[in-house]
Amino acid sequence: MADTDDHIRDRGVTRRVVLRDGTALTLAVLAAGAAGPFGGGVAVAVTPGRAQFLTQPELNTLRGLVDVFIPGKPLDTDHGALAAGCAEAIDALLGAFRTKPPRIFAGAPFSDRAGSPVNHFEDFLTLDKYERRGWRLRIEGSRGRKSLEFNGPVVGWQQIYREGLAALDEAAGDRRFADLTLAERDLLVRQNSDGPAGDLIDVAWPHTYQFMYGAPEYGGNRSLVGWGYTRWDGDVHPRGYTRAEVEEPLPEQEHLSPGEEALLAELLPLAPLASPEFAHNVVASSGGSQRALRAQLGLLVEGGLDLGGRDGA
């Protein structure tokens, strides 16, 4: 619980935040969440623990990093990014063009989780020449090729990961990053927001939550753990929702602790971003960079966001 307190800032009440009872806000102490309702596994083409693009030591370092981003047991009650396969999914993304078709866009229209007898998601889409050009540039970088440097050099994710993972290991001193305790790794991540390690964290944190909370066919969210503790139904086609499920309140509500309710109040400044179009555009304009996204949010949420010491970037 203590780590939660460290990372949640008391924001206070702003002009644009109206609390119904007008009470002062306090820091939240969170109750442990319950395990989710999902348990089924899904066949994936990503092998747990085995490197595809990265070297095995690099993958181990990356596994240590995603564990910092979304920690699992025993610190938390639910599995985290390590057990969910996020490191292997990132590795597969870095090596996306080593498979045909590249693992960029999962297939369509349905998985087999909501009534379809066939899982179309497993058959990744073929990219056309334009899509290949864009995704190769993003992943591999321009690497000095003038035809790709029409707006200057592009550093690809492969290089960012390679150099960043090496920087984390170097920062770990006599030991390797992966051999540090979770607290040591967390501290090291928070103290290395610049340079190659910072550049790595800038893209690796978004990749980690994408694979944690995205469709498991991409290699993460193993056993649907990310959808379980968030109570997210995932893709619900072709079954969909009934009229009653849309229109009626849930038959039972979980009980929130006073600390959780206080935390919800603290999140009020962010809540207006709960608009799919607007949020989608905000995230898209960040270009996958955590720093850019923070800058966007800092513009939109009053007073900016004091992220010092708690965002790891």
Binding site: F105, P206, T230, Q253, Q290
Partner: protein
């Protein structure tokens, strides 16, 4: 022998224009920079088309069906930055619309309201606004109504005419009821509607191009909730492709060239007629296609870019730009966001997002309360009622807020933005300004070497006044939601001096009767080029606060029908 028409862009405007021109006997070629994402396109009836879309958040976040921001960036800056000589302060995915056969409609939210009568005569009725180029439209609501009606019948629109407020019915009269009744209304939207009752606000089912029953063989929506930013996996959405383009191609009179980027409209030596469109095909070859009629429908930013890239000796400032207005009056809806947060799980993502609409903040508002804010009047817009965001967007937003670690995981477990929020958006009207413009970036290029579109934009005092006046009402309404912990507002124009994060774009080639002050005539034809028409929202002289697709389609059909 059929006359040849070339349509640039296959979205809401281009698909309708192609369909109408084909109906009238033209041989139509559509040039589309994106790819086809619908299996069977042009071969099978629309209800039997496949799709590459799914309820897959990673795919959505990776922007399937959008231009790649590394290959085709836009750049942007504020007006103050421009005045200081800053060439650009942002680059990348900045308001890019979709790039696929069928355009942005493949993954739009499918909200389908009409503009109001009062929107077409703002200058005459309300007078000028200093610093803005408010203008009357050269057409009236009555000119568009038959086309609204035709479009809605073809696309399939759900709604409830009886539930609409009297003023809405009076301002946007209909000649027939909606094709189908509304989908189930989300519980979150119901809570907001109930709270709005206390303020005298009327919320009603928002018209939407989404099937609530089988329509033309396409199935009813199953309320999955993943609409905006997602293609519909079950083909329940009335997009431009299924409604117009696919039937048009199957008629044999329309062909579509996908992954073809139009970079120039070629004219005769004297510049009075266009002869052809030059484009780069999917293999990178430069091609030319002749046309008796050229229709531009690439959306406001891209249409302006193409006109500016088509500069020539007779059109030194860009094609049809003798007025200097091409690219100017760029308008974005200023989506101001408001939300209530509840301790209960109110599942706002179960069901069509924003299932209700509220029109009581459209205005115009006048009086001392308004003039004290520095403007003669304020127009707001409709309010989309009842939203949340799906899980991965929530992870991104909370990640920017809390950073990583167990704190983030705990927030995700709590699920404030996908389980406990009832959000709404004011689709705020944006007044046209000469200084808000699209031009060609002097340095940044796309991957083919063509100059990127550069957006120079800042909101007008009107937009700031509007959210100052209306934001307090929005916030009070949401704070009154039964059981809410509280409510908050992001008054976008007040805190963001740059372009709004909105997919609603208009302006850049306004229509009007005066060639010195407008780019197109009332029929969408360039004043200076006899056979070039603009069919998209570029022509809108003003941008009232309604989701624009219905009006884009209706106006495109009107323009296409008027082509001689």
């Amino acid at each position: 022998m059929a006359r040849d028409a070339v349509v640039v862009g296959s979205g809401a405007a281009g698909s309708v224009a192609a369909w109408e021109l084909a109906r009238r006997g033209f041989a139509v070629t559509v040039i589309e920079r994106g790819r086809n994402l619908r299996a069977g396109f042009g071969k099978r009836p629309s209800h039997k088309l496949g799709t590459r879309y799914s309820s897959d958040e990673i795919k959505s976040m990776r922007q399937l069906g959008f231009p790649d921001p590394l290959l085709e960036p836009y750049t942007a800056r504020t007006r103050d930055e421009a005045a200081d000589g800053v060439e650009r302060s942002a680059e990348g995915a900045l308001g890019q619309l979709g790039a696929a056969v069928g355009g942005t409609t493949l993954h739009y939210n499918a909200k389908f309201p009409r503009f109001w009568k009062q929107d077409f005569k703002m200058l005459s009725d309300l007078g000028p606004v200093p610093g803005a180029q408010v203008a009357d439209w050269p057409i009236d609501y009555e000119d568009l109504e038959p086309f609204y009606d035709r479009v809605e019948r073809q696309v399939g629109v759900q709604g409830d005419q009886d539930a609409m407020p009297a003023r809405t019915r009076e301002q946007s009269p209909r000649s027939r009821p909606f094709a189908m009744g509304p989908n189930p209304i989300t519980y979150a939207a119901q809570l907001l509607a109930e709270a709005g009752d206390g303020f005298g606000y009327t919320s009603y089912p928002q018209p939407a191009a989404v099937n609530s029953e089988t329509f033309k063989g396409r199935p009813a929506c199953t309320s999955c909730g993943l609409c905006s930013g997602f293609g519909c996996p079950i083909n329940a959405r009335g997009d431009a492709l299924v409604s117009w383009l696919n039937p048009a191609v199957r008629s044999g009179r329309v062909r579509v060239i996908a992954r073809a980027f139009a970079y120039r409209v070629e004219t005769t030596k004297n510049g009075r007629r266009a002869r052809a469109v030059r484009y780069v095909d999917r293999r990178g070859r430069r091609r030319r296609i002749a046309g008796d009629v050229i229709v531009l429908a690439g959306s406001p930013i891209n249409t302006a870019r193409l006109l500016l890239m088509s500069a020539s000796t007779p059109h030194p400032k860009g094609l049809g730009n003798g007025s200097g207005q091409v690219g100017r009056n760029m308008m974005f809806h200023n989506l101001s966001q408001v939300a209530a947060v509840l301790p209960d799980d109110i599942h706002p993502l179960r069901g069509q997002s924003n299932s209700l609409q509220m029109d009581d903040l459209i205005g115009p508002f006048t009086g001392s309360e308004v003039t004290s804010l520095g403007v003669p009047y304020v127009k707001g817009g409709l309010v989309q009622v009842g939203s949340g965001v799906p899980l991965m967007l929530e992870a991104a937003l909370l990640g920017g807020y809390s950073g990583h670690g167990r704190a983030h995981k705990q927030l995700m477990r709590l699920g404030p933005l996908h389980r406990r929020v009832a959000g709404s958006q004011l689709v705020g009207e944006d007044l046209p300004q000469a200084g808000n413009r699209i031009d060609l970036d002097p340095k940044t290029r796309d991957w083919r070497g063509f100059p990127a579109a550069r957006i120079t934009y800042s909101p007008h005092q009107h937009e700031k006044a509007a959210i100052t006046l209306l934001g307090a009402r929005l916030e009070a309404w949401h704070a009154a939601v039964r059981g809410a912990i509280g409510a908050a507002l992001i008054p976008t124009p007040l805190i963001n001096s740059g372009a709004s994060q909105s997919a609603h774009l208009a302006g850049t080639a306004r229509m009007g009767t005066d060639p010195k002050a407008s780019v197109c005539d009332a029929g969408g034809r360039l004043h200076e080029v006899a056979n070039v028409y603009v069919a998209d929202a570029s022509t809108f002289p003003t941008f009232p606060g309604f989701n624009p697709t219905n009006t884009i389609m209706a106006n495109a059909m009107r323009v296409a029908r008027g082509i001689g």
